[in-house]
């Protein structure tokens, strides 16, 4: 009884609500007219500026004298040429009956190119209504007749307000291209105030679908503009010829705000990070103290002033700069570095001051600042830390550990390893007979050890030379090394030390040649590689060609020996065992053998690739061989080059940065000579 009573109380309001909803729905349906289909046609579907198109709407509303037409509000450059009116239309049917329906006609003029939208028409007859869908209308420029889409040019995101000195990227784009097209030409009507630099490649191509087509907005020209004076200015009009069309982009008013006074000295506008480095804090009298000040970030890296350090009140005796920045959305992105050289002719401790530096961030409109910094520089009567460092590069008597690499078959010991299965047999022997491990190891020792016939007298002279260099007497060191060379010949370790001495004697060509020759005779030596990098950096030889072979040749040879032994052993095994696993093993060894043989050949090929170093007294580079060639570019002494061909007394060389030209062979120190190999 209780339960049924609760149910009844709960059900009654639900029924009332359902009834009310039904009633409302019936009323709403009563107010609605019957929706009929309507087909809207535009003729033509693309309209040239100033011309009109006809709108025809065919409905299935039965014809009546009372037709109500609600026309859409026309937007933009569309105007009614002829207001819509109704007339009957009929379609003949095979049955013979041909009812009359309502057709609406109108005409609209388009006064500007672009993508416009024609809103919905509402056509009512008695209780029925037909509504059309909104329809895009494409307006074309007068010179675009026959084209699909209107091509226009416009500035892409040009700012209304910029700051004085700001590097502003400005991109001009062609819009609505139906294919990727480059502009034939772009001309600015006038030069804007300040600095305007072309910045090709700025901005990307934007795409968007339109129906079944893809439309492209393509940057046709881009600049980095750096306004120098505050005030109201105008970025000039641009005339562009693209896709056979001539387009003009109107000028744009831009307000240039004055830079805050605090940032006027540096003129730096952007987001930056400042760093400074000192090459050596302890130098000898007369030595150069080099300070590098570097600004990284994004902004007007092209024009900003960098802080100028002073050493004990002195200004720099020499300076240089380098940079690497590219145009980006926030101006130039990358870094700029200034080098300041100081020279002190008195002993003592001095203070190097890098002054405070201020820049302005245009996005946050805030001033940022780095505090002034002081570094201590000590000038010694003898050599400074630089000289000590260089002397420590010398190998001394350790040079005899760096013998020339014996190439492949050139090393007599390796013949033992070439015996079929030797390595495998040796390994099995060691694994299965642990007590014989020591005996087996004895067999390996002569293979691993290189011939070491260290002459005590030569070693003593090497130590003497290193000591002389440590004391700053590089001339004596050089003489001792030269005498040593007469005794031991082309020893990589000796060449390494001679390179260090030549570097200190300002013979860049001999220094680079000796170090590279050492690396050529002993490829893959990490010590030599690091010292070559140090040496070339110190001689400011950038973009040098790399050493062709950068791994020890014995690695390739060892791989070849191991695989050839593996092939023999697996082949022997295969004579008595024919399981799939054995076949796979044999084939695997075979593939590894072929690969290692390829590596071996490639190693030898790299080793033989001729390289050379430009002599101190080199003739300038020329574009063609022969006596009639004119001088082109003077390469720096010590520049390492790849020699690609020789013609008569001239060599065709390629520098590390891809410059190709001819030099007399007499102007080159050849690193590669007939040194054996296979």
């Amino acid at each position: 009884m209780d339960r049924s009573g609760r149910r009844q109380r709960r059900t009654t309001p639900g029924l009332v609500a359902a009834f009310a909803s039904l009633l409302l729905a019936i009323l709403a349906v009563g107010n609605l007219r019957a929706a009929e289909t309507a087909v809207l046609d535009l003729d033509p579907d693309r309209v040239v500026r100033g011309q009109r198109f006809t709108v025809r709407i065919r409905t299935r509303l039965p014809w009546d004298d009372e037709v109500e037409i609600l026309r859409p509000e026309l937007e933009g450059p569309m105007v009614w040429w002829s207001y819509p009116y109704a007339r009957p239309w009929r379609m003949d049917s095979p049955e013979g009956d041909s009812p009359r329906w309502v057709e609406v006609l109108a005409a609209i003029r388009v006064d500007a190119p672009g993508f416009h939208t024609l809103g919905p028409f509402r056509i009512r007859v008695a209780d029925s209504e037909a509504v059309t869908e909104p329809r895009p209308v494409i307006g074309l420029e007068s010179d675009e007749e026959g084209r699909l889409y209107p091509v226009s040019t416009a500035w892409r995101s040009i700012p209304e307000t910029v700051w004085q000195g700001q590097a502003v990227p400005i991109i001009l784009e062609a819009r609505n291209l139906d294919s990727l097209t480059i502009a034939d030409s772009t001309d600015l009507a006038a030069a804007p105030g300040g600095l305007l630099e072309e910045a090709p490649g700025l901005g990307g191509v934007a795409t968007r679908p339109f129906g079944s087509d893809i439309l492209y907005d393509v940057p046709v020209a881009s600049w980095i503009w750096t306004p120098s004076e505050p005030g109201d200015t105008v970025f000039p009009r641009a005339a562009t010829r693209v896709a056979g069309l001539q387009r003009s982009t109107p000028s744009v008013p831009i307000s240039v705000r004055p830079l805050p006074e605090a940032a006027l000295e540096s003129g730096a506008v952007g987001r930056f990070r400042l760093s400074a480095s000192l090459d050596a804090s302890s130098v000898g009298i007369g030595d150069l103290v080099t300070v590098r000040v570097r600004v990284e970030g994004e902004g007007n890296l092209n024009v900003l002033n960098m802080p100028e350090p002073t050493l004990a009140g002195r200004t720099a005796v020499g300076r240089g700069s380098s940079s690497s920045f590219v145009p980006g959305p926030a101006g130039y992105e990358g870094w700029r570095e200034e080098r300041f050289d100081f020279q002190v002719d008195e002993v003592g401790a001095f203070s190097l001051r890098i002054p405070a530096w201020t820049w302005f961030d245009p996005e946050s409109a805030r001033i940022s600042r780095t505090a002034a910094r002081d570094e201590a520089v000590t000038v010694n009567p003898g050599g400074g830390e630089g000289t000590t460092d260089v002397a420590s590069l010398l190998l001394g008597d350790g040079m005899f550990r760096y013998q020339a690499a014996r190439f492949h078959g050139g090393n007599p010991y390796w013949h033992l390893l070439a015996l079929p299965g030797f390595v495998v047999l040796l390994t099995m022997f060691i694994v299965r007979r642990p007590r014989w491990t020591a005996a087996a190891a004895v067999l390996i020792v002569p293979l691993v050890l290189s011939s070491s016939n260290l002459d005590a007298d030569a070693a003593r002279r090497a130590v003497q030379a290193a000591d002389a260099a440590s004391e700053g007497d590089w001339i004596a060191a050089g003489l001792l090394f030269d005498r040593l060379e007469d005794e031991v010949g082309d020893l990589p370790g000796l060449l390494h030390d001679q390179a260090v001495v030549e570097m200190e004697s300002d013979r860049a060509d001999l220094a680079v040649w000796s170090m590279r020759r050492a690396l050529h005779l002993r490829p893959g030596s990490r010590r030599f590689t690091e010292d070559l990098e140090f040496l070339e950096k110190r001689l400011e030889l950038d973009d040098q060609v790399l050493m062709p072979l950068r791994w020890p040749p014995w690695l390739a040879f060892l791989a070849w020996l191991v695989t050839i032994n593996g092939v023999f052993l697996a082949g022997t095994w295969l004579l008595t065992h024919r399981s799939p696993r054995d076949v796979i093993l044999f084939v695997s060894f075979l593939i590894a053998f072929v690969a290692s043989a390829g590596l071996l050949t490639y190693t030898n090929h790299l080793w033989d690739r001729p390289t050379a170093v430009v002599r101190q007294d080199s003739r300038p580079l020329r574009k063609i061989p022969g006596p009639l060639a004119t001088d082109w570019i003077q390469l720096r002494p010590g520049t390492a080059v790849r020699v690609t061909a020789t013609e008569g007394s001239d060599s065709l060389v390629v520098t590390g940065y891809g410059l190709e030209g001819w030099l007399p062979s007499a102007s080159l120190l050849f690193v590669t000579e007939d040194d054996g190999g296979f």
Binding site: I624, L628, T630, A645
Partner: protein, 198 residues
């Protein structure tokens, strides 16, 4: 003028070698072909090497090799060397096509150097060799026009060299102008059957 200036095509000279080549000459001919391809791609140093290799081995057609080599020199801006190689090729050849190309290209080089009287003489020689060549005619006309407008500073030297030919040149120019009116439409037809208009 610049539009009509051109380094005459290399294919013809290559064909010369290929057509006249025996088996012994096929390797140099292949090198010349490779050189021409390198030249076309802008790989001038590679082209030089290939031509020089061909020059070492070739027995027939050395004139064409030298001619091609000179073209690379010209492309690299080494005018003196180009002139020297063209002269060597000229001494070796009796082929009218090669001689015409050499004269034409030499004219282009002189024109670019501003030595219009020498350019004029070169184009004139080119037209003697191939009277129907329209480009040579246009360049000749342009060179003459430059000589006339060169002004007093050049007049002395140039007039001495050109004076003898001046009247003849003017007549030639007028004649060419009249002829051009007829031949522009048929310039693609460069066959030897055309009546000589020199």
């Amino acid at each position: 003028m610049a539009k009509t200036l051109r380094i005459a095509g290399l294919a013809g000279s290559l064909l010369l070698i290929l057509l006249s080549s025996s088996c012994r000459n096929s390797a140099p001919a292949a090198r010349v072909l490779a050189g021409n391809m390198s030249f076309g791609r802008g790989q001038y140093q590679k082209a030089i090497l290939q031509y020089l290799e061909a020059d070492d081995d070739v027995e027939l057609g050395r004139d064409a090799v030298l001619y091609n080599l000179a073209n690379v020199y010209y492309a690299l801006g080494e005018g003196d060397a180009a002139l020297r190689s063209w002269s060597m090729a000229e001494e070796l050849t009796e082929d009218v096509d090669v001689l015409f190309r050499i004269a034409f290209n030499r004219g282009v080089l002189y024109y670019n150097w501003g030595r219009y009287d020498e350019a004029y003489r070169s184009f004139r020689r080119a037209l003697v060799l191939r009277p129907s060549d329209v480009d040579a005619k246009i360049n000749l006309e342009d060179s003459l026009s430059r000589i006339r407008t060169a002004g007093p500073q050049n007049a002395a030297g140039e007039n001495q060299s050109v004076n003898g030919d001046d009247e003849e040149g003017r007549r030639l120019l007028d004649y060419i102008r009249r002829k051009e009116a007829d031949t522009w439409t048929g310039q693609a037809d460069d066959s030897d059957e055309r009546p000589r208009d020199w």
